[in-house]
């Protein structure tokens, strides 16, 4: 009987595969990504390398010496204090203590300050508190600290915001009205994000992390790109990281364009160029995990998307690796074997600049 290796399904369940099965799944995942995004499939050396990584029996693996990359944490400030309900470990502590633990104990190379709701819009009423927190954080931290939150344009639609919900309008076949609501919401989103970051930059922030861009579709990304452009103009030296919500830009507007480029349907290698054009320093692709497929399939697919983005991106790529993204299972606290094997492949095969 052929030797089997312990891998994971996309939902975290254990699965045992032979080397041949792992190879077939990595190839199939790569072909799926290549077909969707019109990018090259992984060559046989890359596939062999991923297969070898997945067959390493250790629970935790690391990159080869000399190939280390910077690691940062979105919302890491809350991971210590928050309990399992907040994807954390439930140790009572402040945001500052959470950040300092990441910096001094866990080896994080940069951090962000984020608030518990983690969307930009709700920062407005508590901006003074956030500015004060940023000042205190900057006085205590050594690594770069940016302010981070999600654009989350859904908050600008009724009942949370002033504009009609495009989902409801489309169901009534009011397509033009739905598109207009998206454009109006994007204008407000840009304005709020720029205003909040002007305040945070005054308080010593090293920059901004726009996290889960495009979560509310192409309008959400449009609003964010315009905010990036405005901030870059006003603060030429600030760090701007733009990380995505998913692998492809959802077309809820369908026709909205930035710099002449229709945003709906863009894949990571196309997103990277646009992020750079707007003024981002770092782009963070997020590749969705399919829970019904093996980690070999998901990793082959994710590495294919990200490698193509790395090759075409004019700016560094810090790939999102975590719950349900980057070939890692969709699980509240993903297992260390899945996280570390996938991360090694992203660095050594896809060639990312950071995680």
């Amino acid at each position: 009987m052929a030797k089997e290796y312990a891998l994971r399904m996309g939902d975290g369940k254990r699965v045992h595969l032979t080397k041949e099965q792992i190879y077939e799944d990595v190839m199939a995942g790569s072909e799926d990504a290549a077909d969707l995004a019109d990018v090259p499939v992984l060559d046989s050396n890359d596939v062999d390398e991923i297969v070898e990584i997945l067959m390493i029996p250790g629970r935790m693996v690391g990159v080869e010496s000399g190939r280390e990359v910077p690691v940062t944490h979105d919302i890491g400030t809350l991971r210590i204090d928050g309990d399992q309900g907040n994807s954390g470990v439930g140790i009572p502590s402040s945001r500052l203590i959470g950040m300092m633990m990441h910096e001094r104990a866990f080896g994080a190379d940069s951090m962000e300050l984020g608030h518990i709701d983690y969307s930009f819009k709700p920062v407005k009423p508590v901006i003074a508190q956030e500015m004060q927190s940023m000042e205190v954080v900057q006085q205590n931290m050594i690594v770069p600290v940016v302010y981070g939150a999600m654009p989350n344009m859904g908050l600008y639609y009724r009942p949370d915001g002033p504009f009609d919900n495009p989902g409801d309008l489309m169901k009534a076949f009011k397509i033009k009205e739905a598109q207009q609501a998206t454009e109006d919401a994007a204008d407000h989103l840009t304005r709020d994000m720029v205003w909040i970051m002007q305040k945070m930059m005054k308080s010593g922030s090293d920059g901004v992390n726009f996290d889960t861009c495009g979560a509310a579709g192409d309008g959400d990304l449009y609003g964010t790109l315009r905010a990036v452009e405005a901030l870059r103009k006003e603060f030429p030296e600030m760090y701007i990281e733009t990380g995505m919500a998913g692998e492809m830009v959802l077309g809820l507007h369908g026709e909205i364009a930035y710099d002449g480029q229709v945003l709906a349907g863009l894949w990571p290698h196309q997103q990277a160029k646009l992020m750079a054009k707007a003024g981002s320093n770092i782009y963070g692709p997020a590749i969705n995990t399919n829970t019904a497929q093996t980690s070999a399939w998901n990793l082959g697919r994710a590495v294919t998307f990200v490698k193509a983005a790395v090759e075409e991106s004019p700016i560094p790529i810090h790939v999102n690796m975590g719950m349900g993204v980057g070939g890692i299972p969709m699980f509240e606290t993903p297992t260390i074997d899945a996280v570390s094997h996938a991360s090694k492949a992203m660095v050594e095969v896809a060639g990312v600049d950071g995680i």
């Binding site: 996309g10 939902d11 975290g12 369940k13 969707l36 309900g85 907040n86 994807s87 859904g154 639609y157 949370d160 919900n165 989902g167 409801d168 489309m170 169901k171 076949f173 397509i175 739905a178 598109q179 979560a215 509310a216 579709g217 192409d218 492809m248 959802l250 077309g251 809820l252 507007h253 369908g254 026709e255 709906a264 349907g265 894949w267 399919n290 829970t291 019904a292 719950m323 349900g324 969709m330 509240e332």
Partner: protein
């Protein structure tokens, strides 16, 4: 089918794929008397199928799907008089759809609702942050065939289980098929809480409902 009829059939398919309402309607008019009503509907359906594939592949987007669906509805209305009652495309089933209480995420659930609507289902989208009692009421009132429960957070996915348990308590579980979805939800979780189905995305959700209702 002769060459002229084949060209007309192809024009109908193309008009739907191009999401062009006026073109679809004028092609239907041009086809009447040459193609049978059934052939016209088959061509329109083929176009919608292609639109669905393009949506799945990220080549067309929700507004396009809606325009195509609108084109199909308008086109069928033109030939309604020529059709037997059984062919007018009544609802394929009644679906109640919503995001569970404590979760304000709306977009993914709305995409599924819209895609089901486009696929011919009568969808009652009861919104987001929906109390369990509202789901039960909507199922009862609409005599729903399917109840769709969305949850985007690990904290709110447990409420999907609570809704199913309440359906059991009230003796309503056998009357409705329950499907679950949302980013953190998996097939394993769906099995664990006793749902009838789970899907990864909106296109799969439509196929799931087809399968559950035998459509």
């Amino acid at each position: 089918m002769n060459a002229q009829a084949e060209t007309l059939r192809k024009n109908l398919v193309d008009a739907i794929v191009e999401c062009d309402i006026d073109k679809t309607k004028s092609n239907v008019e041009a086809s009447r008397g040459i193609l049978s009503p059934q052939e016209i509907i088959d061509a329109l359906s083929e176009g919608m199928h292609e639109v669905g594939i393009k949506f799945e592949r990220g080549k067309l987007f929700l507004p396009h799907v809606m325009v195509a669906a609108n084109a199909m509805t308008s086109a069928v209305a033109l030939i309604e008089g020529d059709l037997a009652e059984s062919m007018t495309g009544g609802s394929r089933g009644h679906v109640v759809m919503g995001t569970v209480e404590g979760d304000v995420h709306d977009i993914g659930k709305s995409i599924v609702s819209t895609m089901l609507q486009c696929a011919g289902y009568d969808v009652n989208d009861v919104g987001r942050d929906v109390p369990t009692a509202t789901f039960l009421e909507a199922v009862k009132e609409g005599n729903a065939d399917v109840l769709g429960l969305s949850a985007l957070m690990t904290t709110s996915m447990q409420t999907q289980k609570e809704v199913i348990e309440t359906l059991i308590e009230k003796g309503m579980r056998k009357d409705v098929q329950v499907i679950v979805g949302g980013a953190p939800v998996t097939q394993a979780f769906s099995d664990k809480i006793g749902a009838d189905g789970y899907s990864e995305n909106a296109s799969e959700a439509v196929k799931l409902v087809h399968r559950l209702l035998g459509n």
